[in-house]
């Protein structure tokens, strides 16, 4: 019988260096393996790219609409119709009273004669209005609230205006703004829903790709596990495969969105010009591209982690 063998005796530092080395090796080998199968890799990237490009495009379109409609939203303004028998002097007094409120920026008085003349000019009903003995329009105050006053404050202001003596009606049309906000909110949720579904699809496709990759390398995994590799070691190359697939898909998706926006930008910009808007149709931007790549990478990693962990758990030897 011979003197016993000493065994490995690995220094902790060596393990860390080797761990980093193996990560680098797994990362580069996975990438090389992907490039060696250009058709399969291209198709995977394309599927992930489409899954990311569709919600990304919708989101960018929505952001553009929000920016444009944000410009179109005029500041809130109340039309305060005074009682019919209010004199011009009384109207001036009411104006001063309303103007003294802390939530009001300015108030403009439109006397009833001026209102009638403007109405006649706008409608072309000059003759008809001449035949009416009394001016049916009241004096009107146009009340502009402070820009900082938000929806609840506006409701408070409306209530406050209604109780002013001599005020008949307070007109404040926020319905169209509420409708627009509702449409945009619904749009955002639609984009989120579509995005979520597409991302789930991308995760499933990537997970299936990783499962197939593991199946294709089953013999290799068995061998490395037999000679002492744990699941983390066996899983590592597949995690990088998932990561690269996600990154590549994200990049491809960003390119697709870019091409789509180049195609769309000219007619949309012309349309915006027709509406006297200074806005220009904007695409993803560099941060958007990076976000798509990182999102793709994260999805790839997540899919690979799940697929590799479940697959390796079922694979002999454990």
């Amino acid at each position: 019988m011979n003197k016993p063998a000493a065994g490995l005796g690995i220094a902790p530092r060596a393990s860390v260096v080797s761990w980093v080395h193996h990560h680098r090796q797994a990362a580069s080998n996975s990438l090389l393996r992907a490039f060696r199968l250009p058709v399969a890799t291209g198709l995977t990237w394309l599927v992930v790219g489409i899954a990311l490009a569709l919600p990304a495009s919708l989101l960018v379109i929505l952001q553009n609409i929000e920016a444009v409609t944000g410009d179109m939203r005029s500041p809130a303004r109340f039309s305060v119709l005074l009682e019919a028998d209010t004199s011009l002097n009384a109207a001036q007094t009411i104006l001063k009273r309303i103007e003294s409120r802390v939530d009001v920026r300015d108030v403009t008085l439109i006397p009833q004669d001026q209102a009638l003349a403007r109405f006649a000019a706008d409608t072309g009903l000059v003759g008809l209005l001449d035949s009416i003995p009394d001016n049916p329009l009241p004096h009107t105050l146009l009340v502009n609230p402070l820009a900082s006053v938000e929806s609840e404050g506006l409701s408070e202001l409306a209530k406050g205006l209604k109780v002013v003596r001599g005020v008949d009606q307070v007109v404040f049309d926020t319905l169209w703004q509420a409708r627009l906000a509702g449409v945009l909110q619904a749009g955002r949720r639609l984009v989120m829903g579509i995005g979520l579904l597409m991302m789930v699809g991308a995760v499933l496709i990537l997970a299936n790709t990783i499962r197939l990759a593991i199946e294709a390398r089953r013999d290799e995994i068995v061998v490395i596990k037999l000679i002492g590799a744990n699941d983390a070691y066996a899983r590592r190359p597949f995690l990088y495969t998932g990561l690269w697939s996600g990154f590549g898909g994200g990049l491809l998706g960003a390119i697709m969105v870019g091409v789509f926006f180049i195609y769309l930008s000219e007619p949309v910009n012309q349309l915006l010009q027709l509406y006297d808007s200074d806005r220009r149709f904007t695409g993803l931007g560099i941060m958007g591209v990076l976000n798509m790549m990182f999102l793709g990478g994260a999805l790839g990693l997540l899919s690979a982690w799940h697929a590799a962990t479940t697959q390796l758990r079922e694979l002999e030897p454990r």
Binding site: S18, L226, I227
Partner: protein, 220 residues
């Protein structure tokens, strides 16, 4: 030291090992023989924790292997070098990369991996073929490559399952010579083989299994 104490392994339809008790001291070289289905492979699989015993206990260097679980199994297996009859080489990697694998798994530095890998290839006479693909090597060379991979991380135990099954007598003798050389430097070697003519020429304990029972070689 490896201690099988009344170990049985039962599958659904048959008993692969029955009440096997055997002690293999550290540094010994043992041949495990018997006909096909005698239980040689099951014996090795239990030792590698590819299977668990249905009854009895298996201790390696005092550790009860039944208590080794999860992530510790990999570390346990890395104490073993394993040589397969069909080599189990990775044909998308070079000779050097195949041999380097256990060292990478064990966490060696890249420069140590290079040094040790070359040394292992030198021992089995394959230095100079590092860049070659294993597929271009002959059967004997592939088996020597498998042995280099098994011993490169300096395992405490070397296990071989029919390592000469596909080789001619001269190559088989060469391979056994390599195992003896590693045993001389302190590695515990267990070789499963049904080539009685070959192993009986070598002066090592022969443990015989028959229908899952240990019938000879239990004593030291």
């Amino acid at each position: 030291m490896i201690e099988f104490n009344r170990v049985s392994k039962r599958y659904v339809d048959h008993d692969a090992l029955r009440d096997v008790s055997l002690t293999i001291p550290t540094g010994e070289m043992v041949f495990l023989t018997g006909h096909s289905g005698a239980g040689k492979t099951t014996f090795l699989r239990l030792l590698m924790l590819l299977e668990r015993a249905s009854m009895g206990s298996l201790r390696v260097d005092g550790r009860d292997t039944a208590r080794i679980k999860g992530r510790n199994i990999g570390r346990y297996r890395s104490e073993f070098g394993i040589v397969f009859q069909d080599h189990q080489l990775l044909y998308d990697r070079s000779v050097l990369e195949n041999v380097a694998l256990p060292l990478e798994i064990a966490g060696f530095r890249p420069r140590d991996i290079q040094r040790r890998t070359r040394a292992a290839l030198d021992k089995v006479g394959l230095l100079g073929r590092e860049r070659a693909n294993p597929a271009v090597l002959s059967g004997g060379e592939q088996q020597r490559l498998g042995i280099a991979r098994a011993v490169v991380a300096r395992p405490r135990f070397l296990i071989a399952d029919e390592p000469t099954g596909n080789l001619d007598p001269q190559l088989s003798a060469e391979i056994m010579g390599l195992f003896e050389a590693f045993n001389r430097v302190g590695v515990t070697v267990i070789v499963a083989s049904h080539d009685l003519a070959l192993i009986s020429r070598l002066r090592h304990r022969i443990v015989t299994l028959k229908a899952g029972r240990l019938v000879a070689g239990a004593g030291l």
